[in-house]
């Protein structure tokens, strides 16, 4: 058909599509079969590795492991790739900042304009920023796709339970995490409604591409009504939680029950070792 080659997206209001991490995917994969606690700890370990790795090589390793994780979890790569591309301008901006303004006294200057000095170490640091942020996007995406809302809740609750000995309200903290998670898709949906309402009454929603000014002009008028709508929604959600008995009993149970297997232990030991290696090298 003649329209197939057109760049115009059929529905540019599907904001959810732009997110690098889609919603939870209920597929049956070796990763999904791990205990939620193991999966949460895996994510945490990978994040620590990403943060603490000193060499770009370590970061490349982390990224590779995360992508293998995507493959094992049978999560399609396309949303990640698309999300990464749409975040690329922002990432490159950070990289440029890092390269231009990193303070260092390296001898191997590549070139110099006035007081701007760019050395090979600067370039490496820039590369590290790019890898680190890409790694974060990938690991968050993997976490979102492989951990359902109640698994996160249940897993976090179990992991944090020791803290309640210190009278820290872990359950409320966990609920806050859960509500935040649930708000993301709702936020995207509300934004979609408002943007559609504005577009259907003449607002300019032509694809802006890399034109940042145009993009900001489109998004800014959506923000305030979005906040108003979100506050109202938050209020309703609190009412609904109340109506469904949240907090009426000191304890909550869960739809899913947790089962620890020896595979979980093996995976954790391997991941912990990997984390240490990346940090030390």
């Amino acid at each position: 058909m003649s329209t197939q080659g057109v760049k115009r997206s059929a529905n540019e209001f599907e904001f959810m599509r732009g997110l690098p991490f889609g919603p939870y995917l209920p597929v049956d994969s070796p990763l999904h079969r791990l205990d939620p606690r193991t999966r949460i700890l895996l994510v945490v370990l990978l994040m620590i590795s990403l943060l603490a790795a000193r060499q770009p090589l370590g970061l490349v390793l982390c990224l590779a492991v995360i992508l293998i994780g995507w493959w094992i979890a049978k999560v399609p790569f396309e949303p990640l790739w698309r999300g990464w591309l749409s975040a690329l301008p922002f990432l490159l901006f950070l990289v440029a900042l890092q390269i231009l303004f990193r303070v260092g006294t390296d001898p191997d200057v590549i070139f110099q304009i006035g007081s701007l000095v760019i050395s090979s170490a600067d370039l490496l640091a820039g590369l590290a920023v790019l890898l680190r942020f890409s790694g974060f996007m990938a690991v968050l995406g993997l976490a979102a796709a492989s951990l359902s809302e109640s698994e996160i809740t249940r897993g976090l609750e179990a992991l944090l339970r020791p803290l309640s000995v210190l009278h820290i309200p872990t359950q409320d903290f966990v609920m806050a995490v859960q509500v935040t998670l649930r708000f993301f898709p709702l936020l995207a949906q509300t934004a979609e409604r408002i943007a559609k309402a504005q577009a259907s009454r003449g607002a300019d929603w032509r694809p802006a591409g890399w034109n940042l000014v145009q993009r900001v002009k489109q998004i800014a008028p959506v923000i305030v009504p979005l906040f108003v709508a979100s506050l109202r929604r938050a209020e309703n959600m609190a009412l609904a939680m109340d109506a469904r008995g949240y907090g009426s009993l000191p304890l909550r149970t869960s739809l899913v029950s947790l089962q620890y297997h020896w595979v979980d232990a093996v995976v954790l030991v391997v991941a912990g070792t990997f984390c240490l290696v990346v940090i030390i090298v």
Partner: protein, 480 residues
């Protein structure tokens, strides 16, 4: 979805196996079990209401309050809800149901009418509906079946009082007093001119989140033809694709498969700009008041003309649009939107779309959530607009509304356009409609019941007035 339904039992600290059992049971009751893995934010409005009901049912409460829980439901969803309520009630659950639909209150044991924060009437539905004048003063109405009964009472003075459902009305009506005559079956042919249609949709298909694991097919091979000045209704269960189609007609969504032409715009052409299309085609969304983004009434209505820089002075345009919907410009223009009543907000939403002076008006569930008086008021406004030559495309779960407004009707089922034709013809096909989860309007049901009792009533009776006239005519010449 499962997790949402599980929230209540989780709060009650039930053991996991029991939660799983309750979740399954409650999702099955509302007919969502097959799609339980879908994420709640990807559901249609009607499905969301079903899920909310499941979440409450899973808690096994002793008393449930339904606060206008049926507004976004289609006829089959609504009868599911009513049956569920009656079953719960038999199981000794107290049910309190707040509704704008008079026919839904009929199933209650006790009916309380509120007005201005006070109890205005209190009794059984029979007692309350025996006082139509009092109800009218409270801006309420009789159920459609009672209105149909009142309409034919002129011809049958001995018709008993207190008939509230179509079944009761039909049962109470007498057999035709003469041997069945020939059935007059003349429908005035619609005086359609041979103009090319204003809206033409061919083989339209659409999938949400295409290319993602959450891809969801919303439209399959949909055809639609709407002539100039025609009012075209869209009927179908929730999630059958009506809203998605409307958004195509407004160029909010561009076709993935098939062709869409609206007025002179070929929406398959990537050079057609939405901003040109929306000047000619206005869309009033489902629950439009959820989408207000300004603070004051006047600003909200002025948004469109301001964006598209119309030549007419802005204040004049806003005044005109407000007059169209019956809102006084000086009284309302500076009022904050949140201070308006539900009916007024709906009018503001309509005015803010009319402010662009569209030639085609798309209305997605225009009367949903309104009380009877506001609803009648809005329908009258829309009728006047239709008769002034505006082309209307409207979707509704209220078959009575469609019967009053729409010349032609297209029925949707699971994303396909399965039935299309003159509204009167569509509503004759009761069995077919039932298969698509729809019911003809009450007056049509009563007319069909009378025909089964030998009455020579013409086809195409859809309103109480038409029923009254037809019965009077059929009785002419009968010796009484």
């Amino acid at each position: 979805m499962e997790e949402d339904a599980a929230f209540g039992p989780e709060s009650l600290a039930l053991p996991p196996e029991q939660i799983q059992r309750r979740v399954e049971e409650s999702l099955r009751q509302v007919g969502l079990w097959e799609m339980r893995q879908r994420s709640p934010h990807l559901l249609s409005a009607g499905q969301t209401q079903r899920l909310a009901l499941a979440g409450v049912l899973a808690m096994h409460p002793l008393c449930i309050v339904f606060d206008e829980a049926s507004t976004m439901l289609d006829p089959s969803g609504r009868s599911m809800l009513l049956e569920t309520m009656q079953r719960l009630n038999r199981e000794a659950v107290t049910v309190i149901f707040i509704t704008h639909f008079m026919e839904e209150a009929v199933v209650a044991k006790r009916m309380v009418v509120f007005s201005h924060g006070q109890v205005a009437m209190d009794g059984t539905p029979d007692e309350v509906y025996a006082k139509p004048e009092r109800l009218a003063a409270l801006r309420l109405d009789l159920p459609p079946a009672a209105r149909a009964a009142a309409a034919v009472r002129a011809s049958f003075p001995d018709l008993p009082e207190g008939l509230l459902t179509p079944v009761q009305v039909i049962a109470a009506l007498p057999e035709y007093p003469r041997p069945a005559a020939t059935f007059p079956d003349e429908i005035p042919a619609a005086n359609k001119e041979d103009l090319p249609p204003l809206i033409e949709v061919n083989g339209l298909g659409f999938t949400y989140m295409l290319g993602t694991p959450l891809a969801h097919r919303a439209l399959v091979n949909v055809d639609l033809r709407v002539g100039v000045g025609e009012a075209h209704g869209l009927a179908g269960m929730t999630g059958s694709g009506k809203s998605t189609l409307m958004q195509h007609l407004n160029a909010l969504i561009y076709p993935q498969e098939g062709q869409v032409r609206v007025a002179e715009f070929n929406l398959n052409d990537p050079n057609v700009e939405r901003r040109q299309v929306v000047r000619k085609v206005g869309l009033v969304f489902q629950n439009p008041e959820m989408q207000f983004f300004e603070h004051f009434t006047g600003d909200e209505i002025a948004y469109g003309p301001r964006q598209l820089k119309v030549e007419e002075p802005l204040a004049e345009r806003v005044r005109w649009a407000m007059e169209q919907v019956g809102l006084d410009f000086d009284t309302y223009k500076d009022r904050p939107l949140f201070s308006l009543s539900g009916g007024e907000r709906r009018k503001v939403a309509l005015a803010s779309t009319l402010a662009l002076k569209p030639e085609i008006l798309l209305l997605d569930e225009p009367t949903a959530g309104l009380d009877p008086a506001s609803r009648r008021d809005l329908l009258d406004k829309l009728l006047a607009m239709r008769d002034s030559g505006l082309t209307l495309v409207l979707s509704s779960h209220q078959m009575g509304d469609l019967a009053r407004l729409a010349h032609d009707l297209t029925v949707f089922y699971q994303g396909r356009s399965v039935l299309t034709g003159p509204t009167v013809r569509i509503f004759e096909q009761r069995e077919t409609l039932r298969g698509y989860g729809l019911e003809p309007p009450v007056a049509a049901q009563v007319a069909a019941g009378l025909r089964a009792k030998g009455w020579p009533l013409p086809q195409g009776i859809m309103t109480a007035e038409a029923l009254q006239a037809a019965v009077a005519q059929a009785l002419q010449g009968v010796d009484r």
